[in-house]
Symmetry: C2
Subunit: 273 residues, 2 copies
């Protein structure tokens, strides 16, 4: 399916776009099934927060309508819809124009094809040496400055590792390269506090919400490698593949546990409409 | 003048470019006079280092030739030439294709028009509250992940501040938003160590080289706000405007000193061919 730029089919972008010049923008990667963008409200909420924090002017209602229309027109109503929202064209220099309107770019891709074994038997995480830098002003946002993820993902090429684990500069356990991480300890569902770095994933938010609905205790906190080692269960998640149990990381290993399976079932129901 | 993409006139970019998707690339902003790109070897050296560190495949000889040809064709042979080098098109996902060839984007702009008073009488630096994050893997490079500069530059709109000063997360004095910073103390020319963050500017490198040629002692080190306060002279520099004396920052102030003027004269000679 053609890409859209500001609601019109397009295959190219202005060379003056600030998304290109500075990574000055945000993105969302949205699973589509049955012609519907899944977890849409959560994607839109994160996008709106990003716009507010970066002072990017965007018409959220228009974005919602475009995502719905585009998803409905995707081949067989299924795939992965990527929205890139940039601050639009710029002149030379970093200063943003306070009156600039965001540019909306929609790209449709076929459904993601990960080996079923990742979800069924769990994955091994590559120990990335690339550490996440700490920047509270950008932490949590899915912005376009993603060089850390690019260099982390380039650390391994083998198929043995489905994901990589990233620590921050202080050695805290933060997230996967393209996933969030949870651990379970004594029945409590734990995920990293993302106030310094990391991307606050839509599936992470949804699973925290679902867990609370099921009266499963949750904790958002700093996680050390020691705490990871002593976890009863570990899993990663995102809004495209759902939940993958984590079987191993470096010399550590874990069984696939019952809470992981329960949340995986919930994620699967959300993503397989 | 038209932009060029991979050596051809163009006004648009592929929507799959990884420069847009992830800020996966580098840039150089080069002053042009008399049809010549100035400080070209230093720009090319920094670009080549960036390519090596990010594992971006680029034909450096081709880039040199294109910069020379493009600069020679600019209106009146003068202006600012911006080169953006991206990792080219990508599929979905962060993993870079190790065989991908870089995409070259050249953009010509008219000469920069800063008030002459900045260079003549010196500038006041805005005290940016945006702190630079520490990422040794990217430190020094002029890469496309520049959201920190965007949000720092958005902190002030008044014309009273020509530049802003950025500290790192630990409170060290690093650089301006679009400049490097030097101070002079007891005859020693001091600039920040950029091993954790910051952009290793081409004019910074050139002034360090020129100072050494003149037997002026230089020091690259961590700089505290205390050290800044007790400086005899302070100035900022880049490869477009040269050298601006710094007269004030928050409650601090400095006279315009003799070493600043000497290096400013050298920078002016380099930029006004």
């Amino acid at each position: 399916m053609d890409c859209w730029v500001d609601g019109q089919p397009a295959d190219a972008l202005s060379l003056k776009d600030r998304g290109l010049a500075y990574g000055d923008g945000l993105f969302e990667t949205i699973a589509v099934r049955g012609g519907q963008p899944l977890l849409l409200e959560r994607h839109l909420a994160r996008l709106a927060e990003g716009c507010a924090r970066l002072a990017i002017n965007a018409d959220q209602a228009l974005i919602r309508n475009e995502l719905l229309t585009y998803a409905g027109a995707m081949n067989e109503g299924a795939g992965v819809l990527k929205l890139i929202l940039t601050r639009g064209d710029g002149l030379r220099g970093y200063a943003p124009d306070p009156s600039a309107q965001a540019r909306r770019i929609l790209q449709g891709n076929p459904p993601a094809t990960y080996p079923a074994v990742h979800a069924e038997q769990g994955v091994r995480l590559f120990p990335c040496t690339t550490r996440l830098s700490q920047q509270p002003l950008l932490a949590g946002l899915k912005h376009l400055n993603r060089l850390e993820q690019v260099i982390a993902r380039a650390e391994w090429q083998d198929a043995e590792h489905a994901e990589g684990l990233m620590l921050d500069q202080a050695g805290r356990v933060i997230e996967g390269v393209f996933s969030n991480l949870f651990l379970v300890r004594d029945g409590v569902l734990v995920t990293a506090d993302l106030k310094r770095c990391g991307v606050a994933g839509v599936m992470r938010a949804e699973l925290l919400f679902q867990a609370e609905s099921l009266a499963i205790p949750t904790q958002i906190t700093d996680i050390s490698l020691d705490q990871l080692q002593w976890a009863d269960e570990v899993f990663v998640c995102n809004s495209v593949y759902g939940v993958w149990p984590v079987r191993a990381y470096a010399a550590l290993s874990w069984p696939v546990g019952p809470l992981t399976r329960k949340l995986q079932t919930i994620a699967r129901a959300l993503l397989d409409v």
